[in-house]
Every structure is written in C-alpha cells, then in structure tokens.
C-alpha cells in the first residue's frame, strides 16, 4: 500500500472506504462525514502538505445506491506528490462539505461541480451556477440522464426531423 494511503488510514478510525493505485495515481475514498477532516489533515499535516488544489470533479454512476462521486485532486509543491480524494453522495441528499476554507481555489471549481452535476456544497460562500445561465432550470448537464440532444428550445422546432440517436 502506498505511503500516503497508509498515513490517511492511520489517522482515520472510521470512514475509510478504500484506496486504489493505478498507473501511478493514488486515490483514497472516504465517507462524506469524514471528508472535511481528511482534507484538513491533508492540508495541514507537515508530512502531507497538500497546498495546491488541482481540480474538483464529479462522476455520475446512475445505477449505484450512492449515485454521485465527488473527486478532489491535490498536489504538494514542496513534497511533489499527488493524491486524489473521493467521496460518494446519494441522489436524495447530494450535499458535501465545501473545502473553500482550506483551498481558496476550490470556490470556482465547486461551483462548476454544482452547476454541472447538481451537488451542493455545505458552507460554500457563493454557490451559484457558473457556466450555465443563472435562470437555467432544465437540470444538470453532466448527469447521465441529461440527453445529448433534443432537450429544450431546439426540440420545439417542428421543421426539424427527428434524428435517431
């Protein structure tokens, strides 16, 4: 097991779900209750020292019980290592803790995740849509049940033939 994963597992008594290492990328999955605690540890611990936020992303797994996966990727500029932190949220209650208090850059990245996937972030200072218009009500585009075409205004044009998908 990777050194970083071992440290994370040691500090967590409960809440550690799993870890993978594939193609050199280390990923740790934790329960969402423990997410902020782990993130705080990654940020503050001198051995971890993850001071740089790379991206925040989300993956939709419609068949799973906990449908959405939220992904953070961190890098340590001094230690030069990378880690991916993941957590799962169910569709009925898709809210996770925001990490904007630890990494300022998480602000826009989390807003994008909210806009594209509809996952809300607790304690986020300004959780609004960012790429789609503010008054957009047709759902969240990157969810798997959002169709690639034939949604909204264009669908009302009766002179357009139905295009098979």
């Amino acid at each position: 097991m990777h050194q970083l994963v071992k440290r994370v597992q040691e500090t967590l008594s409960v809440g550690f779900v799993g870890a993978t290492e594939w193609r050199g990328d280390v990923a740790v999955t934790v329960t969402r209750e423990k997410l902020h605690e782990v993130a705080q540890f990654l940020h503050d611990d001198p051995g971890m020292d993850f001071d740089y936020i790379v991206h925040v992303s989300s993956v939709d797994w419609p068949d799973d019980e906990e449908r959405f996966e939220v992904v953070w990727e961190f890098y340590s500029i001094r230690k030069r290592h990378r880690i991916r932190l993941k957590t799962r949220v169910p569709e009925s209650d898709c809210i996770v803790d925001s990490l904007t208090d630890l990494w300022k850059g998480a602000d826009f990245m989390e807003r994008e995740v909210y806009d594209m996937m509809g996952i809300r972030f607790r304690n986020h200072p300004d959780l609004r849509r960012i790429l789609m218009p503010d008054d957009y009500t047709e759902g969240y585009p990157l969810r798997k049940d959002f169709p690639l075409r034939g949604k909204g205004w264009r669908d009302t044009f009766d002179f357009l033939d139905e295009v098979p998908r």
Partner: protein, 414 residues
Amino acid sequence: MAFEDQRTTVYKVNPEHPESETLPTLRTEELLLNMGPQHPSTHGVLKVILELEGERLVKSMPVLGFLHRGVEKLAEDGTYHQFIPHTDRLDYVCAMYNNFAYCRAVEKLMNLQVPERAEYLRTIVAEVQRIIGHQFWLGTQALDIGAMTVFFYCFRDREILLDWFDELCGARLTTSWYRIGGVERDLTPSLLDKLKQFLDYFPPKIDEYIVFLETNRIWLARTKGVAVISAEDAVSFGLSGPTLRGSGVDYDLRKYEPYGAYPKCEFSVPVGKNGDTYDRYWIRVMELYESVKIIRQCLEQMQEGPIMADVPSVTLPPKERVFTNLESMIQQFKLFSQGFNAPPGEIYCGTEAHKGELGFYIVSTGGGKPYRMKIRAPSFIHMGAFDYMSRGYMIADAITLFGTYDIVMGECDR
C-alpha cells in the same frame, strides 16, 4: 435623511457651520458597472460585474459561460480519437498544446510508450506553440494597456510560425497534429530548414520587444505593482504557469513531472519575485528564449526512427498504408468508428501548457468511449482569483488583469 441601503454612506456636513442648514446632504454609493461580454480587451466573451467606489474596484464578479459548448459532455459521446479535434477548440490560439495534453492523458490511460523520435517532434512543436502563445499574449496585452507597436512586431513573427504550422499539418490554428501514440506526420527537410532559420532570426526580435516595452513609461506604470498576489495565495488558488511563477513559486510540470523530451534538454524555469503583472510579463519573455533553446537541443539530439507507436489495437496505421493495404484500412475504420478498448480505471494527467497546467481527468469503464472526462483548464481556475486580485485597484487595471492571466474563453468555458 436616512438610507436603508447598507452600501450607502452618508457624509453629513458639520453642524457647527452656519451654512450647513442650506447645504444638501452629500451621498456617495458604490456603482455597479457591467463590463463585457463584448469588450475588446476581454479576449472573447467574458462579462465581469465590477463594484466601484469612485474608480476603485471594491468587488468583481466574473460571469462565465458565454462560450460554454459542453465539451465534457461531447467527450462522453465520442471515441478517444474523435476527441482530438475538440481539444483544438479549447484554447484556440494554442491548439497544439491542447492536443499534446490530451494525447498524453490517453497514453497514460492506455499505458502506451511513444517512440523517441515522436517525443522529440512533440516537444519541438509544443515549444513552437509556446512561442506563438507567448507572442500572442505579449502583443494583445501590450495593445490593451497602451503599447501598440509591439503588437505588430509580435504578430509579424507569429505569422512565420503559423505558416510553418500550415505547411506541417495544413492548418494554422486548429491543427490536430498529435495522435494517440505519436504524431501525424514527420518534419520535411523544408520544414526543418525553415525552423532553423527562424531560430536564428528570432532571439534578436525578442530583444527588440523588450526594448519597446522597457522604454515605454506607460507599460511600466501599468504593470509594475499591479495585480499583486503572494506566493501563498497563488498556490491556494491553484494558479499555475507563469501566473504562479510570477509570485516566486518554482512550479513547472516540465521539470517536476518530466514528459516528452524535456528531461533530455537543458533549460531553466524563470521565476519572478514580486508577483505583479510585470514579473509575469518578464517570465513569459524569458520563456521565449528558453523555448528557442529547447527547440535547438531537440533538433540536435533527434535521431531517425518511427513517429508512431506500433500498437495496432490502439494507434492508427500510417496514412500511406491505409490507401494501399486492406487490413490497414479496416484497422483505421474500426479505430475511428468503434474506438479502442480502454481498460477500466481513472487517471489524471497534467501538462504544462503555456498558460498553466492543462490537465485531463479521464474515467473509463472499458470500451471505446470515456465515461467521464474532466478538463482542468488553467484559464477557468485563474478567473477564480480575479475578484481577490482586483480588489483595491483602479478600474483600468481590470484590463491588465484579464491580460495577465492570459485567458482564452474557449478554454475557460469549455
């Protein structure tokens, strides 16, 4: 007279003055100004709502998404090969580096080894693209804040390289020259000659740009001490590329996580001190010299060899075989219509584009299409720091800020 609006400040005239009875109460309030989405210096369609106190910026709220095309959603519907032209349209002034970043990510997913000559070719073209990107940035940034001459000189030299791209792959901007596992075609002797000529021609021209700007008082006044960000904040915001290095953080993926032919080349990474616009400008200009150095070394070291990895299940067959050999044609057809079979898993691969770290996070569940693709676009993340960096500066410095990030909206909105 009381105003309920909390933003309103009421300045009362001194009651001891006898004329205060007759003077009206002076009232000042913050002004909301809408800048963009059609403003010549926003480099595309970017809107920022500025909250002003006099001419000072109190708060700025970037409104993004005017160029949102759903590239990440489109990626889920196409095969890995089919996505390469989409990457051209992300950062449309520097298509080659986007191709490079994307192909590297897919190669990491497929665990592909790229042949050595292809690595050199990729590095050469990527550095040519970096020169183009920095020239474009320098020209437009100087134009935006009042130094017009440099714009013409930069674009004159950029044109030479765009013509070179034209000869290389048939397109000036939307190039799609990189392929998964290698590159589309080799450099011809004519291209090599032209590139060598350019390398001799170019460094004196950089000196010329510097002279134009360093002797321009407007340029110095509008860049020195403007949009300062400390190293700690810059790291916390996730800034990358020259925007981060301007604050003195020596973070360059070409050195930290070497790829391509960079580990075989000697070059230095310029790092700033003050974290202001001037330092970031200086870094970009110094990188022009470094790029020339890298290209020179690559041209010297490059040996003959294949330009595409030979993994028939993933990489495309050479074009001349496609038109003469039935099996190759079937292979090409299958790769484009069905794609190759990627193993299930997820990877993140970051590449140092000239704007910053351009990364692709790909989740694969097997099959020919990515399940989810997230693009880590430096322009988008830099816009996250816009509000923080603009506070307290004059309204005209908002223009400097757009420029100092080197934003391109195609990449920012995706």
